[in-house]
Symmetry: C2
Subunit: 170 residues, 2 copies
Amino acid sequence: MESSIVFTISRLSLSPSSKPQALPFQPWKHRTPPPQPPTRVHCHKMYVPGHGASPEKTAAKHLHHFFNFVAVKIVAAQLQSYNPEAYEELMEFVERHPLNDGDKFCADLMRESSRHQKLALRIMEVRSAYCKEDFEWDNLKKVASKMMDESNTRLLRNYIMETSCLDKVK
Amino acid sequence: MESSIVFTISRLSLSPSSKPQALPFQPWKHRTPPPQPPTRVHCHKMYVPGHGASPEKTAAKHLHHFFNFVAVKIVAAQLQSYNPEAYEELMEFVERHPLNDGDKFCADLMRESSRHQKLALRIMEVRSAYCKEDFEWDNLKKVASKMMDESNTRLLRNYIMETSCLDKVK
């Protein structure tokens, strides 16, 4: 059983007025220095345009919904063993309500019935504990960095193999 | 302009054989100790069932696509100021190709033309640098924790206000 968690983020909203503040990659075609204030001297980070919220906040928002999803799984697994009735109620609710918006899911669950309200409170407690205690944040960074290296290597390798084959055919 | 980044994750795949290993929340209805091996004694984490990959790996996968999206924004902003032709080409490609799968986006971009290939290599370089150097991982944890507290408080406050109003009407 698969579920889609949809995260909507603004897409390349580069308004004409947005000013790139750093060009650390291959700055060919050098022009005369543009008439910009020298504020970028002390910032070594790449300029991310068009983000109303910081990238960190956007990422945290995505993770927020993910933690809610994980909390529902945790609570469901706990209930399955010692409270089958509550488990069935939760699963029936999950079937009817998408998990892509964690807060809306909890708000709806809370208003379904007094029994569902208890489930919602428990999910909220679990998602908070999971976010603050159980989730391995350091590991997340390691896994993401490793994934990035592997993906870049795989993309390049596949491309080189593909073009090499084409050359041979020619 | 809005774009949906769709992350598909398995949904509550609780097989009957899955064994909840920790019940840290309100363990009412205590039964006699189940005949399980005492392996859970040393694990204080909540049991997350049905995850083929670890939650950290699933979250890293989501972030991987997000970093690709951010890299496209960064590169586009850089090009906009000193290479308008390349900027136009990139934006035209973005219009035709979704950004929900970062690796597929780069693979397709690489195969579009030799000019697009250079753009793809640059995006791959930027997304790697962004993930490892620019993205504020410590801040991500702080923002996510704060967001969790605020969301839970807001959900409870709204519910209490709603039910209080209903009581007054009665």
